[in-house]
């Protein structure tokens, strides 16, 4: 046991940090894109407050198209775009953009369904009080949906962790990469087991944290 940690401890620690770094940065930026997009979908959908067939239809199709592409293919498919935006296609920097392109539309859909759960009556009540649409979106729609939003983001985070496993293909490292490189290619099964264990631990704690936060937000 002691021997294992001296040999591999640093590597696994570095991988964990890389995975968490990629996941949190990508999650943050994807949410900043996905939440407004989800809101826009809800507002522009037929019978929405700002119903607009073209905006809704267009946005919806784009999201569907991106979501049709598996991450491993998307990663290579948008290489030129990644180079243009990020200046590189390798390392953590190179994988962030594909992760965001992959996750933002997913989050947009999750946010859309969370926001659709909000009772239209409450929104109408606030409209009747002369409160602007902008304020209604933030203080009513998103506030009332916040518990579902947290659950949605939890699902998205776990999806992101899964996607980062493929980041190793462009040299961004991470836990998935370690499991593949060392566990599979170099046949060090213990390394694979330990990385899998760390991944399970991560996913479990993120899910329980999300559940607990959502429950708390629902009540208070």
């Amino acid at each position: 046991m002691q021997q294992f940690w001296t040999d591999w401890g640093d590597l696994i620690w570095t991988g964990t940090v890389q995975t968490l770094t990629m996941t949190s940065i990508a999650l943050l930026i994807s949410t900043l894109i996905g939440l407004p997009l989800g809101t826009l979908l809800v507002l522009t959908r037929p019978n929405g407050r700002l119903a607009n067939r073209f905006v809704y239809g267009g946005l919806s199709s784009v999201i569907n198209v991106i979501r049709s592409i598996p991450f491993i293919i998307l990663l290579f498919f948008i290489l030129p775009f990644t180079r243009f935006i990020m200046g590189t296609t390798i390392g953590v920097q190179g994988v962030l953009l594909p992760l965001i392109v992959f996750t933002a539309p997913y989050i947009a859909r999750l946010m859309e369904s969370a926001l659709l759960e909000v009772d239209r009556g409450v929104i109408e009540a606030y409209e009747a009080m002369g409160i602007s649409t902008r304020k209604i979106i933030w203080y009513v729609l998103i506030r009332e949906a916040r518990s579902s939003i947290v659950l949605g983001l939890t699902i998205a985070t776990i999806g992101l962790i899964g996607a980062t496993a493929m980041a190793g293909l462009v040299g961004a490292g991470g836990l998935g990469d370690i499991a593949y490189q060392y566990g599979h290619l170099r046949f060090e099964p213990e390394v694979m087991y330990v990385t899998i264990f760390v991944l399970i631990l991560l996913v479990q704690s993120i899910q329980s944290f999300g559940n607990r936060l959502a429950a708390k937000l629902k009540k208070a």
Binding site: G121, V122, A125, E127, M129, G130, I131, R143, E144, A220
Partner: protein, 344 residues
């Protein structure tokens, strides 16, 4: 104070045009409680939403204090809406906010000062009797209490007008009574003009000064509650009232085969005159009381009787005429045009 002029509202549903409101004109006076009664789908909800323009009329004018509000720009409309409170059948409270916050948040969004907000929250929670529940969440409250929070929220803007969209329809009779009592109190003590829609007779009877009956998008009858209810001229109104006497259909049709069945309404002091006894004395007719009761309307008492008149046909006609000249409202209960129609 509120004037609806020739309001028509059409909706397009799958290419078809549906007329929700058809040339509706109404005037609501300052300080009164005006009720609209109608079945579901009659256009009530659309009508009440014309007053704060949650729905815009296809044609027609909505005036408040002489100002055509359909011409208002965004900012003007928003200011106007702050003067008009609204409560709903399903309360429409924030589930994620406490009672106190439910009242305070809209005021904060309106940009009022903290001190003012605190005073108003205290004041209006006190008025609706929920000061002790201020830190509860809506989920922990009963339906009646939730409606009280909604009323406090509406009042906290200190509006001139309160719109009530079926506010008691989801409540049990006892709770309905207490909410109606609260609305009456608000009307009396704060001087609010209340415009309400309902499908419950009881609501109109208990608190309304004037009523309009809506059927398939049209106002078929309107006036003071006492007048409309003691002398309903439209079939829809009669149906709303008929359900109150609760005489089984079979009994009615059986009695109609022999003699005449009439519905009599007595207003206020007439309740004391022995007009029925006079029928026997003057016309030799034997009145048989089938059902009845006395109702307390906001404006006074109305007695209703369902009476079977057994006797000579011509004498019956004279008797009905006598009742009418005595100030009793008479309505023949029948499917066929008979005595009353001939009398005109």
């Amino acid at each position: 104070m509120i004037e609806l002029k020739q309001i028509t509202k059409e909706f397009k549903v799958n290419g078809d045009t549906i007329t929700a409101l058809d040339d509706v004109s109404l005037t609501i006076e300052r300080g009164e409680i005006f009720g609209i009664i109608g079945r579901s789908g009659a256009g009530k909800s659309t009508l009440i939403r014309m007053i704060n323009l949650l729905e815009r009329p296809t044609s027609g004018v909505v005036e408040i204090d002489g100002q055509d509000i359909t011409l208002l720009k965004k900012k003007g409309l928003s200011t106007l809406r702050q003067r008009i409170g609204m409560i709903f059948q399903h309360y429409n409270l924030l589930k994620t906010a406490t009672v106190e916050e439910n009242v305070a948040i809209p005021l904060r969004l309106e940009g009022l000062e903290k001190q003012v907000i605190r005073e108003r929250v205290d004041r209006y929670l006190e008025i609706v009797g929920l000061s002790e529940h201020r830190n509860h969440y809506p989920e922990q409250l009963s339906g009646g209490q939730k409606q009280r929070v909604a009323i406090a929220r509406a009042l906290a803007h200190e509006p001139d007008i309160l719109l009530s969209d079926e506010a008691t329809s989801a409540l049990d009779p006892e709770t309905t009574e207490s909410i109606l009592e609260l609305l009456l109190e608000i009307n009396r003590e704060l001087g609010l003009t209340i415009f309400l829609i309902t499908h419950e007779m009881e609501v109109i009877e208990r608190i309304c000064d004037r009523v309009a009956v809506i059927d398939r998008g049209q106002i078929v009858e309107q006036g003071h509650v006492l007048d409309v209810f003691s002398n309903p001229s439209h079939e829809t109104t009669q149906k709303f009232l008929k359900t109150n006497l609760d005489v089984p259909e079979e009994v009615v049709s059986e009695l109609q085969t022999r003699g005449t069945l009439v519905h009599l309404s007595f207003i206020g002091s007439q309740t004391e005159q022995a007009v029925l006894a006079q029928l026997t004395k003057r016309f030799g007719i034997l009145p048989n009381i089938i059902g009845g009761g006395i109702k307390k309307l906001k404006a006074g008492l109305v007695g209703n009787l369902l009476v079977h008149l057994d006797g000579d046909h011509d004498q019956t006609e004279l008797a009905v005429r006598y009742l009418k000249t005595s100030g009793v409202h008479v309505r023949e209960v029948s499917n066929h045009a008979t005595v009353l129609d001939r009398l005109g």
